[in-house]
């Protein structure tokens, strides 16, 4: 536990001093500001557009649902991309540079390093996600008034959970290959495979990648919690599996 706390403190310091935390917070805050704002102005921009043949586009008044649609869309694309770029070097850069060698020879167990890195990355990602969500929520209330959510945790934590999966995958990739290419490659393979698998409707409910785009179906009542449960369970299982594999691989890795 001592080694875990020592390494977590080092990771937090690194996140702060290498501007990892600031970059993530700024990008995620922007997502939070842009989502309701885009939802608000999009009808004004697009309404009245001539679609050709005298057909004029008429859009309905935006609602809070449009704000959350934008939120899920922004977070699953720009937000995830920022998060991936910020954390891609989590294991990879330490292994390629050799900065872990003095640490490991001081007695910090290898498994502790993996768990501490995942823990701190989780804290930062959660913080960034929370900042984004709180800003979006505040503006959504400001523009459209308070709203009741039936299943707020499941509704809004789904993209966060996919972010956690990406973190675990990047740690695994970095541990396996010891460079950024490994971290990014593993995530790319999973994302591409996930999107290809989505073409099969019978597999879609089990595909964690679908969670990245959010659980809008819970907001508009078109889906129930049970519809997302298999994908959430598989996502959690995949995170745990990635971490276990990372520890096993790292323990056997010749440094």
């Amino acid at each position: 536990m001592r080694g875990f706390m020592v390494f977590c403190r080092k990771e937090l310091t690194e996140s702060y001093r290498s501007y990892r935390l600031v970059i993530l917070l700024v990008v995620m805050a922007l997502m939070g500001i842009m989502s309701p704002f885009t939802a608000m102005i999009l009808p004004d921009i697009l309404s009245g557009s001539d679609l050709g043949g005298g057909l004029i586009l008429e859009l309905p008044e935006p609602t809070s649902f449009d704000s959350w649609t934008q939120f899920f869309s922004n977070v699953s694309q720009m937000g995830m991309l920022a998060m991936i770029l910020v954390f891609a070097g989590l294991m990879a850069s330490e292994l390629s540079k050799g900065t872990l060698i003095p640490v490991l020879t001081k007695g910090i167990p290898r498994g502790t390093v993996i768990l501490a890195k995942f823990t701190v990355a989780t804290i930062l990602w959660s913080l960034g996600y929370a900042v984004s969500w709180i800003i979006c929520w505040g503006y959504t209330i400001y523009y459209w008034g308070a709203q009741d959510f039936t299943h707020p945790w499941i509704t809004f934590c789904a993209p966060w959970l996919v972010g956690e999966l990406f973190l675990a995958l990047m740690i695994l990739g970095g541990t396996l290959v010891s460079n950024w290419g490994g971290s990014l490659g593993v995530v790319a393979v999973v994302v591409i495979t996930g999107n290809l698998v989505n073409l099969l409707p019978e597999v879609r409910p089990y595909n964690p990648i679908t969670l990245a785009a959010g659980t809008l179906g819970l907001l508009d009542g078109s889906h129930s919690v049970e519809d997302f449960t298999p994908a959430i369970a598989i996502c959690v299982g995949a995170i745990v599996l990635c971490l276990i594999l990372s520890i096993v691989v790292f323990k056997r890795k010749q440094l």
């Binding site: 001592r2 020879t105 001081k106 007695g107 910090i108 167990p109 290898r110 056997r252 010749q254 440094l255």
Partner: protein, 302 residues
């Protein structure tokens, strides 16, 4: 003799390349042990296996009586390690890194405070405030030495600590090693033979994955014996008379009145003295040439 490190029959291959082929050695407590070898001889591999960073294929290693296991760090509490190119977190300052290292090693805050101060003074970084990212190579090497010693290890393992440094930097590192030898056993790999001669009391030569020479520096030199005799004569005439009695292939002229006679054993040296007596020449000086660590090394890896 109390050994802090013992290696028995250690083998290691990387693919088809057999890097270590059954090396065995023992490092007595309190010694400064030079681990010599050409580049690629297997020095770093051996050190990393001792630290549990690499897995040996066969053989056993004991540090302070405890068996080393790959991937485990328990025996590392006895060890301090300075890699050949130490890498640190560039955003930290030296004192901060030592605090982190001390915490990782399980020291208390007061111990860390005290040790950091002592070690930063020892390595000459006591007044340096800048971040490690702005350190020179020599400064990083000295900080590496401090972090390796923060937990007062019984054994300090240094992988070519002086190879990439300028003469001043090298001298500083050797001075530090000399300063800690009273409390810490030092094992350091190098291919700078002069460094071994200056501070080591024992040495092993690793060649093509095998230990080809091992022992105290005094024993190693005595084992090889003299490499020749250096003679200084009173006149050129004496030198000429002497040279007429010795085969040209054994003679190396140094000046008009001095010469080195290459010998391979003590019997030949007796013959040279006999020749002097026969020719009734009394040289001004006669000196046996001791082998240098360089000549021992070259002989061992031939």
């Amino acid at each position: 003799m109390n050994e802090v490190l013992s290696i028995q029959n250690l083998h290691k291959s990387f693919g088809a390349a057999k890097v270590l082929q059954g090396i065995s050695l023992g490092v007595p407590a309190g010694s400064v042990y030079g681990f010599l070898g050409e580049n690629g001889a297997g020095k770093t591999t051996t050190m990393k296996i001792i630290l549990g960073l690499l897995q040996g294929d066969r053989g056993q290693i004991h540090v302070c009586g405890e068996k080393v296991r790959f991937g485990h760090t328990t025996t590392n509490r006895f060890l301090g390690y300075l890699p050949d190119v130490p890498q640190f977190y560039p955003y930290m300052r030296g004192r901060e890194y030592l605090k982190f290292s001390g915490e990782a090693a399980g020291l208390s805050h007061s111990q860390i405070h005290q040790r950091s101060g002592e070690l930063l003074e020892l390595v000459g970084l006591g007044t340096v405030k800048k971040k490690i990212g702005a350190y020179s190579r020599g400064m990083k090497q000295r900080l590496g030495m401090a972090q390796a010693l923060i937990h007062q290890p019984a054994v300090l393992i240094c992988d070519e600590p002086t190879s990439a440094l300028d003469p001043t930097g090298r001298q500083e590192i050797l001075d530090i090693l000399r300063a800690i030898r009273a409390t810490t056993t030092v094992i350091f790999s190098t291919h700078i033979l002069g460094d071994v001669e200056r501070i080591c009391d024992r040495a092993a030569v690793l060649h093509q994955g095998r230990i080809v020479l091992e022992g105290s520096l005094g024993d190693l030199k005595a084992r090889q014996g003299s490499q020749g005799l250096r003679l200084e004569f009173a006149s050129r005439e004496d030198l000429t008379r002497f040279c007429e009695r010795v085969l040209d292939e054994f003679i190396e002229l140094i000046s008009q009145t001095s010469v080195i006679v290459r010998t391979t054993d003590i019997r030949q040296e007796h013959q040279v003295i006999g020749m002097l007596a026969d020719a009734t020449i009394v040289p001004l000086s006669l000196e046996a040439i001791s082998p240098t660590i360089e000549s021992l090394f070259l002989e061992a890896v031939r």
